[in-house]
């Protein structure tokens, strides 16, 4: 699904990604771990096509995430570490997501209600005015509604209370086996039951790559 060869990304004079070679197969459920500054978020952003590599290449289902970003992102769902302060209302955000990703607003609302979030009361409200937990639930609902082959979660439960976390992990267990999931996390104990591979990064390199 994802082939990373000798990927190197430099910021100023530091190699944030340092000759990383990694193959991620369809169905892999990965916990991507490492201390702050290890290069986890940079790796994820490279897979999403936000960064141009200084050296090496990344392919997602054979597509270059920079040159063929639409093809890559059609297959991908992403939840950032912190919900961004989007000023669009929930209605507008759902319109953006549903029209660009060819899903229905109804499917997002269904996923939201499975996360115990009733969007119908807040449709006209700007996204940034929701509480932290509600924002995160909304982003999760959008990510799940896309039914993507590749899901990338960057600390997805940081804003969730314990009950919502349980709900989220329960929903993830319903994901098809063929879906590839990458959890960027510091809390391995939370995602341990969900993953079949652990990758540990430090100083831009993959230090450990273990199948569970």
């Amino acid at each position: 699904m994802i082939a990373i060869k000798e990927a190197t990304k430099r910021f100023l004079d530091t190699n944030v990604l340092d000759h990383i070679t990694l193959t991620i197969k369809r169905g892999d459920k990965i916990a991507l771990m490492g201390p702050n500054g290890a290069g986890k978020t940079t790796l994820v952003r490279t897979i999403l096509g936000f960064y141009h590599l200084d050296m090496g290449e990344v392919r997602v289902e054979g597509f270059d995430p920079v040159k063929n970003r639409v093809e890559v992102l059609k297959r991908t769902s992403f939840i950032p570490q912190t919900p961004p302060p989007i000023k669009l209302s929930l209605n507008e955000l759902m319109e953006y997501v549903s029209k660009s990703s060819h899903i229905t607003p109804k499917s997002i609302m269904q996923e939201a209600s499975r996360m115990d979030l009733d969007i119908s009361k807040h449709l006209a409200k700007p996204f940034f005015k929701l509480s932290g937990g509600m924002k995160q639930k909304m982003l999760i609902a959008i990510a799940l509604a896309k039914r993507s082959d590749l899901l990338i979660f960057d600390e997805p439960t940081a804003n969730l209370d314990p009950k919502a976390r349980e709900k989220f992990y329960a929903l993830l267990q319903e994901m098809p086996d063929s879906a590839t999931t990458i959890y960027v996390t510091h809390r391995i104990e939370e995602v341990e039951p969900l993953v079949n591979r652990k990758i540990y990064m430090d100083l831009g390199k993959v230090i450990e790559d273990e199948r569970v």
Binding site: I86, K87, L88, E95
Partner: protein
């Protein structure tokens, strides 16, 4: 194309709820109201009706205010979204960079152009109501000026917004651009350079390259073809080019310049890291 229109539509909706848009409406609506109250349309100057005079004053004020409004509100559209991680999320959906960038620009163009055009039309209607004659030529040329002015400063703003990564730097850069352009108009630094006997060709070239000076000369030339109120450089430009050619230049040069900046911004947006 569908996504481009989607991005434009959502940007328009978002902007209409923002505080800056409210202030923008208030400034241009207030400007017209001020003109009505002060009775600009009632005066007849140099054989022109009060309506032409109103349009001229409106253009003069707009040329100064509109650029800074467009610059400070638009430079944050990419750089601000980048800083607040909105760009990261919005671009994690399958929307081509082309659709996102040009959609944002189209939305912003509508939001800055429509209010100034509405204010202009209200001014004209008021002038007609007060008994003036409709100056078709002035109205059409002024509308083209406004279109061109909006396109130019949107192009510059999007360029700045894509090349800088911080919102504060983007704001600072917009002020520098605005101040520089304002400084090099006929009655400011150019006048000083003339007084100090700088090279004439250099001064003329500076004036021709400065879109604000070009707009100003174009706008006033419709009202005062002798340009007695504008200074020697403006007079020279109009005398050399001829009235029609200069008006053509005053509309199309800023439009082309704006397009160049917009395309340069898009090139940077595509070729550099998005975050």
């Amino acid at each position: 194309m569908r996504n481009l229109l989607l991005v434009a539509k959502l940007d328009i909706k978002e902007s209409t709820r923002s505080k800056w848009f409210f202030v923008y409406l208030l400034v241009f609506g207030g400007l017209m109201a001020l003109f009505f109250i002060t009775g600009i349309t009632d005066s007849v100057v140099m054989g022109f009706t009060g309506l032409s005079r109103l349009l001229l004053v409106y253009m003069q004020v707009t040329i100064v205010i509109l650029p800074i409004f467009i610059l400070i509100t638009t430079v944050k559209s990419i750089s601000g979204d980048r800083e607040s991680a909105i760009l990261e999320y919005m671009l994690s959906f399958p929307v081509a960079l082309r659709d996102y960038y040009w959609g944002k620009m189209l939305g912003r163009f509508v939001i800055v152009f429509v209010p100034v055009m509405i204010a202009l039309v209200i001014g004209v209607l008021w002038g007609l109501f007060k008994g003036g004659e409709l100056p078709w030529k002035v109205l059409i040329v002024y509308s083209l000026f406004l279109f061109s002015l909006c396109a130019l400063f949107l192009g510059i703003a999007f360029f700045i917004s894509t090349i800088v990564k911080s919102h504060d730097v983007a704001l600072g850069a917009s002020f520098v651009v605005w101040i520089l352009m304002l400084a090099f108009i006929d009655i400011a630094l150019i006048g000083l350079m003339l007084a100090n006997r700088w090279n004439d060709d250099f001064i003329i070239a500076l004036a021709l390259l400065n879109p604000l000076e070009v707009f100003r000369v174009g706008a006033i030339s419709l009202f005062d073809p002798e340009l007695t109120v504008m200074g020697p450089v403006a007079y020279f430009l109009l005398d050399t080019f001829g009235h029609k050619l200069f008006l053509f230049y005053a509309v199309f040069y800023p439009l082309v310049l704006g397009a160049l900046f917009a395309f340069a911004g898009f090139w940077v947006f595509r070729k550099r890291d998005l975050l």
